[in-house]
Amino acid sequence: MKDNRVFIFFSEISNCKVIGPKGVSIGKLHDLFLTSEEPLPRVSHIIIKKSYKFKTFYAVIPTQKIASIGPPIRVTPHEIKFSPNQPSSDFTVLKNLIDKQVVDVHERKIVRVNDLHLLKIDNELRVAHVDIGFRGIIRRLGLQKIIDKIIKSIAPKSKYLSQEKFISWKYIQPLLLNPALGTIRLTVPQEEISKIPPADLSDMLIELDIYDRLPFFKSLDIKTKADIFQELPIEIQKSISDSLLENELIEIIHEMEHDKAIDFLKQLPKATVKKLFSKMDPKTSYELSLLLMYEENSAGGLMTTEFLAIDENMLVKDCIQMIKQSSEETKVEEIYATDEKKQLKGVASLRKLLTAKPDAKLSSIALPPPAFVHPKSNFKEVAYLMHKYNLYMIPVVDENKTLVGIISIDDVLSKFVSESWRRSLKEKYF
């Protein structure tokens, strides 16, 4: 009976009979070699295995020689060479997909592949979906018919029967390790990965096995690396930084937000930090070393130096230009007006700047700051003031009223989330 189905599961053809040109069975289907083609990987070769006198032999057959995919599979190659050595390739179904963990960039999770949903066009096979559902496991065990019957009789409307847990291949990033570079060959475009919020990416990274984690981290671009690194718990930061080269680590620290970089550097031995500083860009290392002096729970420990302090006599249109040219890490929700001595004179919100006359002076629209703190102020005081005055950012000034930093609301929030919530959100149990 000719099989007209368009889709077929790997579990249906795995270990099925392969019939050779002479019409007799030559072995069983063992594995499929894939080429990563856009948009769906194509099966390039099938691997057949047969047992003879307690030994297993393997043969490789290109897909052009497939006459029909049954099961059983009929092939018509010119010659078939069996060898006791397992043929290897860097992208195979058994080695990289079946029962292995892969990254689901759509749901932002690490999932384990139970079965593959293959698209059949003529005799060409492509990987269309990855099956991560329980039903996939049941199918691999060969119990699909029985379990389906049982569930149908108990709960005919059950989700188990109607909803397959498939993930389309375009969202799947398999962990194809390149051992020489220690990176993963990315099949999902870097832009897709960058769209995932760093907090979710870092969660995924934590879920990966320790030795998949580093290659995956290394395959990302520097911006994503820094974004993720900031969100990782300190033990994982340390474990990753242990395996990075010094200049790789310095690159990441440069890209990180200053306050997050300080949180990380504080956990390292002083000698290491000194060495890193000596190799860093002097401006960055100077700013970081200043921030390092402050205690963790003080305003100084929370603040960042990435803000805009603009001379109060500057025109609004020039201020807006400065905002446009500032780097992504600089917090621009509030602009601080200072005098020649860098003392804090006023603050203007972004909205005020955008709605003011372009030729007006900053001093004319900047209002005196409703609140400010000192570097030694306690973080609870900071939180209280920000709450009282409904502030997103609060300036930090020293004894001379010089503006030394700002604290933004997300840093204060993270202090409270870790202090008052007993159960840390990222701890896995057993």
């Binding site: 691999r140 096995d209 159960r423 057993f430």
Partner: protein, 410 residues
Amino acid sequence: MNFYQKIATLVSVIGPGIITANVNNDAGGIAIYSLAGAHLGYKILWSLIPICLMLIIVQEMVSRMGVISGKGLSDLIREKYGVRISFYIILLLVLVNLGNILANFSGIAASVQIFGMSKYIFLPILVFLVWLIVIRGTYKIVEKIFLIACLFYVSYIISGFLAKPSWSEVMKSLLIPKFEFKLPYTTMLLGMVGSTIAPWMQFYLQANIIEKGIKKKDVSYSKIEVILGCVMAIIIAFFIIVACASTLHKEGIKIETADQAALALEPLAGKYCSTLFAVGLLNASLFAASILPLSTAFCLCESIGWEVGLNKSFAEAPQFYSIYTLLIVLGAGIVMIPNFPLIKVMFFSQVINGFLLPIILFLIIFLINDKDIMGNYTNSKTYNIICHVSVVLLGLLGLLNILFAIFVHS
């Protein structure tokens, strides 16, 4: 590294090995040791040394696998041997664990009754407390609580001394093997081996090692910690056997459960001995009752691919929470049914245990010798020989266990 740095590293890896080995001295384990001491006297003490060595070998391999591969045992089995084998193994594991959970809940109920409290009131209360601590605690806090719970096992050591054994006889029996091919002897021996080297412990230990995040360079410290844990557990077993042998066996008192042992000790060795024994039983049962349902739920859900983790809400991980709660409710509920054939059920779980143990051990040996997984940390040739011999012996014992369990207790 200087001496103090070495000690600091050792302390930093403490946790998994010690907790795992001691949690295995649960109600079931204590029962076996008590029975062994009561029915056979000192004769069986020599077996503790080879059992200890085998336990160390198995636990060392498992912890090495955890540190080097960074993956859990069920993940390694699935990735290497496919979903079929790993699924059926996990299923068997769940059944065995259910039996173990029953044993421990009944241990709680029984020890509570020794103190004169009604099991119908206190079992639900204690179980609820256990459920609460586990659901609400963080790993670090619970690990600390468990490590402190391990200290309570000292009560057995004190019991052992209070029972005033004849130490010369004890030492003789410890060092000179005396094997009997009689039925009660071999059954007891098999029971001791099976309950000391439990399959579920290997999954739990490896998962714990990974959770702790022990680095490759500290793998030798992890080995030391695991060995310490095994030795601790065997020492406790030793004292339990000694306590029961020097009192119950001498008077020829037959017992069937651990709580009967605690009660029977009182007229012979005094109230303190008896109380300490009961306290030890309560501690061990609570301890195991906290860990077993959780570990089982974790293993099962992870191998199927359902969401796991106490950091997830019920809506995010419904199967995990349901299975965990179901195991606890089933365990406590079944134990409270009057006249439930508890001992039969526990023996049945021993049968499956005996079936599962050699399989798991074979798999562990193949995995530990796989260069893809272990790199340079595979077994040396001599170690492999020792391992293979141990595993074959354990396998034979396991099979005999099944046969005896079927024919002796049916």
